[in-house]
């Protein structure tokens, strides 16, 4: 057994400060699920391999099982629930639903956070860049295609909102259903 010792931390979780006593070996994931009750953050492997626990920590998307809770003292953490007021996240959520990118849904919160972070850094990624951007997040149900479709759709919507749309580029990126949905949205239907 690892040696346990108490550490007091105060971590801002989705805008609210949470004070707690954690063990030195506890991960940020342990703290989020067990103490902050942020159950939208999932635990699929606890080893940094699956990405279901992805959150925004200190401004970056990280796997919270790889961060020590003690290390996060005084830091800001946002999980999916803490990003839901953001229009880009809302676009992603809608797109995931519309495109059929959600099957069992267990990877979904982490996948949404990773996708959001990807689009924050690159608002106009290619499908290949999107694949790279979510390559740390496993999904066993969808085969990823509809997730990429959803990110494309959300990116398209978001670029439109920004007023920086290049429609020809967008159309190239999208295919199948996402394309149809994008047309619908771009033509004022949504």
């Amino acid at each position: 057994m690892e040696i346990q010792s108490d550490v007091k931390v105060k971590i801002r979780v989705n805008g609210t400060a949470v004070s707690a006593t954690v063990q030195a070996g506890d991960s940020l994931l342990d703290f989020l699920r067990n103490q902050a009750r942020a159950t939208d953050v999932k635990c699929g492997c606890n080893q940094g391999d699956c990405g279901t626990c992805t959150v925004i920590y200190d401004g970056k998307a990280v796997k919270s099982c790889l961060v020590l809770a003690a290390q996060a003292d005084g830091k800001e953490v946002r999980s999916l629930r803490g990003l839901m007021e953001d229009p880009l996240m809302q676009s992603l959520q809608n797109a995931f639903v519309e495109c059929g990118a959600v099957q069992c849904g267990f990877c979904t919160p982490g996948m949404l956070v990773a996708s959001w972070s990807l689009l924050q850094e690159n608002s106009n990624p290619t499908r290949g860049e999107m694949r790279q951007g979510i390559s740390g997040n496993l999904c066993r149900c969808t085969g990823y295609k509809k997730i990429i479709d959803a990110i494309s759709l959300a990116a398209a919507q978001h670029v439109v909102t920004d007023g920086t749309a290049n429609l020809a580029d967008l159309a190239d990126r999208l295919d199948g259903q996402a394309q149809a949905k994008a047309n619908y949205l771009l033509l004022g239907g949504g």
Partner: protein, 765 residues
């Protein structure tokens, strides 16, 4: 005109899932909850000489330590909701905790409940187990030899043996123009659902055990009740939305452990497996060793298939007999062959449990017979599509069990569409790369074995404001098993989907709908829901007929109303209609049951006649790029075409094909479960590599809709079938690219490179 059918309406559960609001099994907590932990065997084969628990029991904060002697009924027959007893040949043993011996690495020996997960783990470490290691039997070939020690004390090592004897293969081979033979091996595969096994249990004030668990089979409440020697009515499953199953949550996982711990402590208990625990100890897809011989005429007509199939049934037979049976009846594939001889064996070894996994025996034999087809096409110089089309099953042909398949078969069209969609090969990007195309076709049943006498029930109730409640005990794995019931009810009753409240998986309050396995929920519970909806619809139309003065035949249901087809101005809204029905005492609820076709249990090991309700047919065509220098493989294109009967929701159907196809991609190429002397060497996702987003292309799907399925509106099942056919399509494409025949999966770059080097040796001389 359909209201909802055929439309890609977003799933009702997706909206909660994208908000992180879905409460999966481990997300749930109850005040005063303890944490369970399982002590597991450190040997794959050993006698337990002594088991000392006193130290663990005395640890502060430990509330229960349970070993086999504390389990009221430790060993029983695993049932999966079927009411018929199907006999020892078809049944597996389920043992809760190891007693005098352990048969596999990681077998549960003791259970602990303590105040924290850490304490429970510490208590497990304090339990002393004295083992006398035995020589393990790790290979089914060895286990089959006469005189070898029995893996299970009361069961022969050959747990099941089935035969197909159709026509006269000997004579047919004697007259065949060409014969191809091959030996094929397929490996373990882990389901690798992202949600590890988990649940919470508590005992009610009246002594009912409630188990909130991620399970594909809520009917296991009966087995758990038997484990505790309680009436079935005293165990209640509250199934959760499941974070992936694929067959791996079909057998009991944590439920008996939770029930025992909660019963003993009278405290709520949570038990969640770690990822390593899940990978090391839960059931896997059966490895198969297969010898195949296929004979054909010069013009490519297959005259005989002979196969010997050996499956590694692991240390407890679990669903091995059924999986073997599926493989046996699928052994000749979607082809009409007059002469078929199959001998199949499920053999026990001291290795992890093998049981259900999407495809359930069909993908294993499919890899062999489609590799044989490719060999045959090369030997005869007949195009791979053309050769298959000369042999595909047609309506009225018989399967290898002799059952005449009297339904339309769209396999030829499916294979053609997938193959042609690939188009011509592009020019390779550089001279080291060779491009290949490969085809794989296959079949997979939907609905359970017909001798299990499968049934499902569903309940619909209309509310006075035009909303509705559906109650159906359907476990939802994410494939839209629950959602589609809403679409069916909305179609029949003109309901708005967002105003339907769906209750699933409460074994006492939702009508039992059977297992979410065997690609059966749309077929079974879809039909049960359709039946219930149509009874309600008839009541609505009869009432509307009286109110509008229009004959029933002239009425149709539209969203929120019923109206006359000939005089559309005559209509009545759903709300006033339902209110009138209520006022006049009409029943606004219906519970219906749907029964699959029933057949009798096979009388002996020779399997004949109907075994499944129906089959789904489909094909994959793939393009690969193989690096001749390194064996590295890239897959730029995968095209799938399936006859889905009717795509009630095309987005969900595509999702099943895309996901199943990529799961099959992993099986074929990346998922290399290493096992040494019964111990898995790859217990993490860093070692056992399921495909990531950068490993796979966008899988292209083509849907055929023959409308000839047994499901609602002519739908066929599509949950498992996409797992079939992709593996041989990929290996056939590798052969097409570089002439290397992969006969054992996964087709790793190392194997491809070794094949390339053998070529160099031969040519270079």
């Amino acid at each position: 005109m359909s209201i909802t059918i055929g439309k890609g309406i977003p799933k009702v559960d997706a909206k909660h899932k994208v908000r992180g609001d879905t409460i999966y099994a481990d997300d749930y907590s109850v005040p005063g909850m303890l944490y369970g932990k399982v002590l597991r065997s450190r040997y794959p084969a050993a006698r337990i000489l002594a088991l000392r628990t006193a130290r663990a029991e005395h640890l502060e904060g430990v509330y229960a330590v349970i070993t086999a002697k504390d389990v009221p009924h430790n060993e029983l027959t695993a049932r999966f909701g079927q009411s018929t007893s199907v006999g020892v040949q078809f049944e597996g043993v389920y043992r809760v905790l190891a007693d005098e011996e352990v048969r596999y690495f990681g077998e549960p020996i003791a259970l602990v409940a303590a105040e924290s997960p850490e304490l429970a783990e510490q208590a497990c470490e304090m339990i002393e187990v004295e083992y006398q290691p035995l020589e393990g039997i790790f290979d089914p070939m060895t286990a089959m030899e006469p005189g070898v020690r029995q893996v299970a004390e009361k069961q022969r090592n050959i747990a099941s043996h089935f035969k197909i004897r159709k026509g006269n293969v000997e004579e047919a081979f004697a007259h065949a123009d060409v014969i191809v033979e091959g030996t094929y091996q397929v490996p373990y595969q882990d389901h690798a659902y992202l949600e590890p096994e988990s649940g919470v249990a508590w005992v009610d004030e009246d002594g009912t055990i409630n188990i909130r668990v991620s399970s594909q089979v809520i009917e296991h409440f009966r087995e758990v009740a038997e484990v505790l020697n309680l009436p079935h009515s005293r165990v209640r499953y509250l199934g959760t939305w499941i974070g992936g199953g694929f067959g791996g949550k079909e057998d009991i996982t944590v439920e008996s452990f939770l029930a025992l711990l909660a019963w003993k402590t009278r405290r709520p208990v949570k038990l969640t497996y770690t990822r390593a625990e899940s990978l090391l100890t839960h059931s896997k897809r059966h490895p198969f060793f297969m010898e195949y011989k296929t004979g054909a005429t010069q013009d490519g007509r297959i005259v005989a298939v002979q196969a010997r199939l050996i499956s590694d049934a692991g240390s407890y037979s679990a669903l091995s007999p059924w999986v073997l049976l599926y493989a046996t009846v699928n052994a000749a594939g979607p082809y009409h062959v007059d002469n078929v001889w199959v001998d199949s064996y499920a053999v026990m070894t001291n290795t992890p449990i093998t049981s259900a996994f999407r495809g359930f025996g069909a993908p294993q034999v499919n890899f062999a017979y489609e590799s044989q087809m490719d060999e045959l096409s090369r030997r005869l110089g007949i195009d791979p599509l053309e050769l298959r089309q000369r042999n595909f099953l047609r309506q009225g042909d018989s399967l290898d069990t002799g059952w005449v398949y009297d339904r339309p078969v769209a396999i030829s069209e499916a294979a053609e569409k997938a193959w042609y969609a690939l188009g011509p090969k592009p020019a390779p990007a550089n001279p080291q790369v060779a491009i290949g195309h490969g085809l794989g076709a296959g079949m997979c049943s939907y609905g359970r074995l017909t001798f299990l006498h499968d049934t499902s029930r569903s309940y619909i109730k209309l509310e006075l404001d035009g909303s509705a409640v559906i109650r159906c005990g359907v476990p939802d794995l994410g494939g839209g098993q629950g959602h589609i019931l809403c679409q069916i009810a909305a179609e029949e009753l003109g309901l708005a989907i967002e105003r339907i409240k769906l209750y699933i998986t409460d074994s006492q309050l939702t009508p039992l709908a059977g297992t979410t396995t065997a690609t059966r929920q749309l077929y079974m519970s879809g039909n049960a829901t359709l039946k219930a909806a149509r009874v309600l619809r008839t009541r609505m139309l009869e009432k509307a007929s009286g109110m509008l003065g229009v004959p029933v035949e002239d009425l149709e249901v539209q969203p929120g109303k019923v109206l006359s087809k000939s005089q559309p101005e005559k209509s009545i809204g759903l709300v006033p209609l339902v209110n009138r029905m209520s006022t006049e005492g009409e029943e606004l609820f219906v519970e219906s049951q749907f029964n699959a076709p029933f057949t009798s249990i096979p009388a002996n090991e020779v399997i004949e006649g109907q075994i499944h309700p129906d089959y789904t047919f489909g094909a994959y065509a793939v393009e690969v790029e193989v690096n001749r220098e390194t064996g590295a493989l890239r897959v730029p294109r995968i095209v799938a075409c399936f006859d889905v009967g009717k795509a009630l929701n095309p987005v969900i159907v595509e999702g099943q094909i895309e996901g199943g196809g990529i799961q099959g991609f992993g099986y074929a190429l990346t998922e290399d479960m290493k096992i040494e002397k019964g111990i898995i060497q790859t217990p993490s996702f860093a070692e056992y590599l399921i495909p990531t987003a950068v490993d796979v292309p966008d899988l292209e799907t083509i849907l055929l809709e023959s409308e000839t399925g047994l499901g609602p509106y002519g739908a066929k099942g599509i949950g498992e079938p996409p797992m079939v056919s992709i593996a041989p399509a990929l290996t056939n494409a590798i052969y097409d690219a570089v002439g290397v025949r992969i006969t054992s999966l996964p087709a790793t770059p190392e194997k491809i490179l070794m094949g390339l080097l053998r070529h160099v040796e031969k040519e270079g001389g």
